[in-house]
């Protein structure tokens, strides 16, 4: 009775506590070795919700597939096979960062850019819903919207992801503006630190930004099989996505809550404080 389908959903009747037995053996002390030692992110499906991914880029390698979100009249959403590659370079950069940390994970591109600015909020929401329905383990969202009309709908999609065991990793804003979905507590929000270690990340006890990962002067994949040095929270985010893929590669049964707890317990400032 350990499968998620048989667990009581709304209440816990007398004598049913045994059914809550967890599939994970939690060690007395969670270490990075326990969390992702020897993991390569194998079999973890990572979705890059961005500008597309350049096919055949040496720093990205094979991708599992690519779709584009189109916005029709009346905000009708269509998700179609995508052969455009990357319209900007950013999605390729994110995919390359994830690959550098979790070399064996499966990378999938959901392109939400290219439909014009007017339809961009609708495309973002449509792409996120599609990715959640398609059961990716981790969704990298290095983007946000400031339109409050999308806040409620994005919040619902983020919660749906959380309960379906899809982890949303979203870039925090480093400007004083309200934007979504990174502000929601059901996602893992990421800002930048200035260190060079790709596996260094910090838990922030003063949310809304929950984690800081490498986001300054990062060598990334760019268009034409090339590269660039880049800075921004949007590059810190795929570092956390890659680390999530490593942990889920070793512990696929973890829920987003457990994964976030694991990230907290293995964060650089928490590990150091514990030593």
């Amino acid at each position: 009775m350990s499968s998620a389908e048989h667990l009581p959903a709304w209440s816990l009747p007398a004598g049913a506590a045994e059914s809550l037995e967890l599939p994970t053996e939690w060690p007395g002390r969670v270490t990075r070795e326990w969390a992702w030692g020897d993991s390569t992110g194998k079999d973890v499906r990572v979705c890059i919700l961005d500008s597309g991914i350049e096919l055949g880029h040496p720093l990205v390698g094979e991708i599992e597939g690519a779709v584009a979100v189109e916005v029709g009249p009346g905000d009708e959403i269509r998700v179609v096979e995508d052969a455009e590659g990357d319209l900007c370079g950013h999605g390729t950069a994110c995919a390359g960062i994830v690959r550098s940390i979790a070399p064996d994970c499966k990378v999938f591109s959901v392109r939400v850019l290219g439909a014009g600015f007017t339809g961009s909020g609708t495309a973002l929401l449509g792409g996120l819903r599609w990715a959640v329905e398609n059961g990716f383990h981790v969704i990298n969202m290095s983007l946000s919207t400031t339109k409050s009309q999308f806040a409620g709908l994005l919040h619902e999609a983020a919660d749906a992801a959380y309960f379906r065991r899809t982890v949303l990793v979203a870039s925090a804003h480093n400007m004083p503006v309200e934007s979504y979905p990174w502000r929601f507590s059901s996602v893992i929000s990421v800002g930048s630190h200035e260190e060079t270690d790709p596996l260094a990340y910090y838990y922030n006890p003063k949310p809304p930004v929950e984690f800081f990962a490498r986001g300054v002067d990062v060598e990334v994949a760019w268009l034409g099989g090339g590269s660039a040095r880049s800075t921004g929270n949007s590059f810190a985010t795929p570092h956390m996505t890659g680390i999530c893929a490593l942990v889920l590669g070793k512990h696929p049964e973890l829920t987003p809550f457990q994964l976030k707890s694991t990230l907290y317990l293995t964060a650089s400032n928490v590990v150091e404080a514990d030593e």
Binding site: S51, L87, C88, G89, H90, L113, G114, A115, G116, F117, T118, S120, S142, L143, S144, T145, T146, K147, S148, S171, H173, N174, M175, P176, V177, E178, S179, S192, H193, E194, V216, D217, W222, L223, G224, G226, S227, A228, R229, S230, T231, G232, N233, S234
Partner: protein, 213 residues
């Protein structure tokens, strides 16, 4: 009086298009100066055509760029506008498709790197500020990123003023002579000083009383 009409009349006494252009030009000059960069540009988002328009350029010696349009959701500027995320790129390997293309094609100058930041006013992404080719001997820092964000905030306010003034001017143009006459009247009263100004305002108040009762 409708909001549009009120805005239109206000525009009659507001600064001219030239003054707004000066504000944007000054913004790109300062942006270029702060970061010791080779150039800086501002794009304004045009809602009607769903495009980004070059509004101001500093340092490229190519005012010909002004008025040029690019798609709103491709390239670096499009990505920044849509995602609301600032971005810094340096040492970009030469590829004709990268975000510097639109500049390179029209000026013959190909940037090696850029900082791009969305200009956000309230809920709206109103444009994009780009700073091209900062000196690369120093590593980029989060402090600079913060400065870029603060500066972008101020620029967004300027860009929003320009956008509103243009919209108001559009209302004036479409409404014909009646609204223009009102705007002229408001402008004339605004230029008065001392007792004459008071008399002008009293007269307007009386006129308002007369036509609303």
């Amino acid at each position: 009086m409708s909001n549009d009409l009120r805005a239109a009349v206000a525009a009659g006494v507001m600064a001219s298009e030239d003054a707004h252009r000066s504000l944007l030009q000054s913004t790109v000059e300062v942006a270029r100066g702060i970061f010791s960069a080779k150039a800086a540009t501002i794009f304004l988002y045009d809602e009607e055509t769903d495009e980004l328009v070059f509004e101001a350029v500093s340092g490229l010696g190519a005012q010909a760029l002004i008025g040029n349009r690019i798609p709103s959701s491709t390239g670096i500027a499009g990505w920044v506008l849509v995602t609301r995320q600032p971005l810094v790129l340096e040492d970009v390997s030469q590829d004709p498709r990268w975000g510097g293309r639109e500049i390179a094609e029209r000026t013959g100058y190909t940037p090696q790197g850029l900082m791009a930041v969305p200009l956000i006013h309230e809920e709206d992404s109103v444009g994009v500020l780009q700073v091209l080719d900062r000196p690369q001997e120093t590593r980029f820092s989060l402090e600079e990123m913060e400065l870029l964000g603060l500066f972008a905030n101020q620029s967004a306010i300027g860009l929003d003023l320009l956008r509103k003034a243009r919209r108001a001017r559009g209302v004036l143009d479409e409404s014909g002579v009646e609204v223009e006459a009102l705007a002229r009247l408001a402008g004339a009263v605004d230029r008065l000083e001392g007792p004459k100004r008071q008399a002008g305002l009293d007269l307007l108040r009386s006129l308002e009383g007369l036509i609303t009762h």
